[in-house]
Amino acid sequence: MLLETVGMLAADTSRSRAYLRALVRNDLLPSHAYVLPLASNKPLPGQGSGSNQFTPIAEDCWSEADFDPAEPLEDILRTADIAYTELPSENINSPAVVEVLRSACQPVLIYSGYGGALLGKDALATGKMFLHVHGGYLPDYKGSTTNYYSLITENRLGASALFLNEEIDSGPVLLRKTFPPAPDRLAIDHVYDSAARAKVLVLALRRYVERGVWEFSLPDNKGGETFYIIHPVLKHIAILGKHGK
């Protein structure tokens, strides 16, 4: 099904691949994709390498873990017959990119940018609603690499679909979900974190299609804690730990 009112703003990352594969698998196709180019040979944050040796998992929550983190984005777009435009800059906040977004026909844009890149005031002022899936259960886990922190404290992961506003991870939440520990904790960064987000994206879009409107499970996304990029020592504890609290 082509979602006329939904486009996608995608950087060339493993997360974007997970999203697109999930959307194709569940027949929820964005009507247009706006692709952030890769200006240099140096990998940008979020670009995975290597393959995903996926073994089918019985748990439905990991249904979107079957994707290739290295598959070229444009290959997925072409085979799914999704029209796309390459943006003029890898910088999401450049005036040229903002202008393209402003002119986009779709009022809602699924956002999947490069790691650490935040949408600035100008992009947010284009009038578009940016649908982002945060890798963590909101409002408790705002900020960065939160799934590693929640693995340590609660032995679970989370993902939350929200519309972006100027405050980080504080926009109204459409849908949020918790997940059991990833089957392979070594693959969290490029597979299971992306798979959790892709699953929530699919559920949020399905709900929109069924109901015809965007409904919020947490309209007032206040409170919680803001986490910062996890230190490798704590990341190793999250990965190697045998059980939660």
């Binding site: 996890i230 230190h231 490798p232 704590l234 504890i237 190697l240 059980h243 609290k245």
Partner: protein, 238 residues
């Protein structure tokens, strides 16, 4: 294998820690060994009178008490010497935290000292200390640097970002907050600040103005991380 996160001078080239590599149990062993080696190197460094060292000595019993409650040890001892209790000037001024609506310039060292003393003398958590803690952590995490002053609290840094005692005070505060709240945000900040300090090598390890501070935060960090690993079933005999 060796612990590689404090090899370069992190005040010159800060670590972003993005998408860090998984290196297995050996990484944690190397981290622990490296920290213990630094702690041992501090054994021979006497302490000079300084607010930083004084506050660290005052904080030490808090960490010892935490270790006792959590069934572990904190390896903390202060070398004998002429170190004596330093009278902190303007104690009352140091103890009062600015109100969050305060819009004037902030002296970072004094703010950190006030927050530490608030932990030692009062609850250490609550609307006002939490507000300043979040601001301080945000500033450090964004740039991995702490400036002597902030023109608008707490945003634009001014002055030097190389006052080492400020980083030791930040580490002391983070350790106290972890003791009080168990917050992984505090522990995360503590480990990163210690990376920064140890990347300075002789400027931090041989510096008598901060040596008690260094001993205290290193010992506390090892106890916290050790207890966390043990609670998660990770055996880390280096």
């Amino acid at each position: 294998m060796s612990y590689s996160y404090c090899q370069a001078d992190l005040l010159v080239s800060p670590n972003r820690y993005m998408y860090s590599r998984f290196e297995g149990l050996g990484f944690l062993q190397d981290y622990e060994a490296m920290r213990r080696a630094c702690l041992r190197a501090l054994d021979s460094v006497a302490a000079k009178h300084s607010i930083c060292n004084l506050l660290a000595r005052r904080a030490a019993p808090v960490f010892e008490e935490w270790a006792k409650r959590n069934g572990c040890e904190v390896e903390l001892s202060f070398p004998k010497g002429d170190f004596c209790e330093l009278m902190v000037e303007n104690d009352a001024a140091l103890m009062s935290l600015p109100d969050p609506v305060f819009n004037g310039p902030i002296d970072t060292a004094k703010l950190l000292q006030a927050l530490i003393i608030d932990h030692l003398e009062n609850a250490g958590v609550g609307k006002v200390p939490d507000y300043w803690w979040k601001k301080i952590v945000q500033r450090f995490e964004v740039s991995k640097r702490m400036f002597e002053r902030y023109a608008r609290p707490v945003r634009d840094g001014e002055g030097s970002h190389e006052k080492i005692s400020i980083y030791v005070s930040l580490a002391t505060l983070a350790a106290l907050r972890y003791c009080k709240t168990g917050s992984l945000i505090a522990l995360n900040t503590l480990i990163k600040v210690i990376d920064t300090l140890l990347s300075l090598r002789e400027r931090s390890i041989s510096n008598q103005e901060i040596s008690d501070g260094m001993r205290t935060v290193l010992a506390a960090e090892l106890a916290f991380v050790g207890a966390l690993m043990k609670s998660r079933g990770i055996a880390c005999a280096a």
